[in-house]
Symmetry: C2
Subunit: 249 residues, 2 copies
Amino acid sequence: MTVTAANSEVLIRCGECPIRVQAVCAYCGPSELVSLDEIKSYKTYKPGETIVWAGENLTVIGSLVKGIATLSRSLPDGRRQMVGLLFPSDFIGRTGKRVAPFDVVATNEVVICQFRQPQFDQLIKTTPSLERRLLDMTMDELDSAREWMLLLGRKTAREKIASLLAIIARRTMALSAASPRDGVAFELPLTRETMADYLGLTIETVSRQISALKKSGVISLRDSRHIVVPDFIRLLDEAGDDSDGGFID
Amino acid sequence: MTVTAANSEVLIRCGECPIRVQAVCAYCGPSELVSLDEIKSYKTYKPGETIVWAGENLTVIGSLVKGIATLSRSLPDGRRQMVGLLFPSDFIGRTGKRVAPFDVVATNEVVICQFRQPQFDQLIKTTPSLERRLLDMTMDELDSAREWMLLLGRKTAREKIASLLAIIARRTMALSAASPRDGVAFELPLTRETMADYLGLTIETVSRQISALKKSGVISLRDSRHIVVPDFIRLLDEAGDDSDGGFID
DNA sequence: CGTTCTCTTGACTCATCTCAAATCTGGTGG
DNA sequence: CCACCAGATTTGAGATGAGTCAAGAGAACG
């Protein structure tokens, strides 16, 4: 209904939405989708644009439809830690909370299916299928956050890099249905700086460890953003997890 | 109903339960409590006992009633990271998941109000007040986990120690309604090793940083487990957060 | 009063950070 | 097409914070 002039986007019906089966609305039936349709609007954010400021009023609630956004938080002197990566279908915002605990920043062009605040809060109270889906998604995120805590607290720089590459490689493999022993190639959707913020390292250490993994033959680079992994199992070994634990699910 | 012989405990009615107003059952009405009463039983765990093993079948679902438990995960070579601390009223377990992602270990004598698995899964589907409370609790835990990621990834050893002490001090102050400029004294409920596992440090570094904070006059020790904080604001400064952000809520 | 566990402290090592410079990349305008 | 520039990345050299190894001091317990 209300569509901001600057950031408007083609309207999509929920029925044709690309993230429909995974987003917060995944368990909704047709009539519930109609209710959602009434309170949603699409907003587009430019690369680098801050969608939510930590400490400010949390006004944005919705589903990420397209693009990648980062969740992060900084110390007063500028040290920054990413605490989450948001992909299409991930939920942004929190019901019943006024102050945003973290920054949300668009890394590339991002489209959000944004719900109007009071209406959404109301809707979720009367729609168990919404609430259940949100609970499942939140629990999954909690598990990944805790997994990441293990990485941040206990892994070496080399293991951190290997873990991150393994996660991205696995997502790529899942899409192409390749076997672990085949090679995988993918494009890094992150700059060295974003990787550093994610892993709790400096840019220089990230760069050095990538070079070291290249020298060991664990990976090879076409250019700085295109990684080739000849043996996925080898990469997993470098990540330090049990070969069947952690990141395999 | 079913009470294990070895670990039995005095039965409590939900109405007289000490954690009633904060636990997963907080939003339940009287009739819903009756349903819970029918599928719950109390179990006691000894200090050091592992309540749930990571990677094993997740059979325990319930509320921590008494004691403190830790959530942690280890790398194959033994490096361990705590990913959560469970206090009375915290929820243990996860609906609809077979494999436990983390170890749950009792640090002292722990009592759990344990629900029978299939019945609880069923109950939560038909009881919105349970589901809503669980969603709120899970979101709070997700926020704290992410807060902790900032600590693990970006804080120095001294800041990590100060942050942990600040959290415990604040909880103590909240109970006694003391003002920040007053002195606070409390007993550490954790060993140096548990603190190290929590903060992503070694025992020796924990010990050294506590000594350093003592030498700076930020804290003083009666003995190794009894901390006195003469000026809470000073402690917060050492924690590195914005003085009004982060751990104040 | 040993025994055992927790905690502290010292000396040294090493991984990661810091500071600095070089290289590479893509884009812009002439 | 080329020169130039700004941003991203790599690499080097040195500093340092935290880990490792080892020993000693308390405290708790039987």
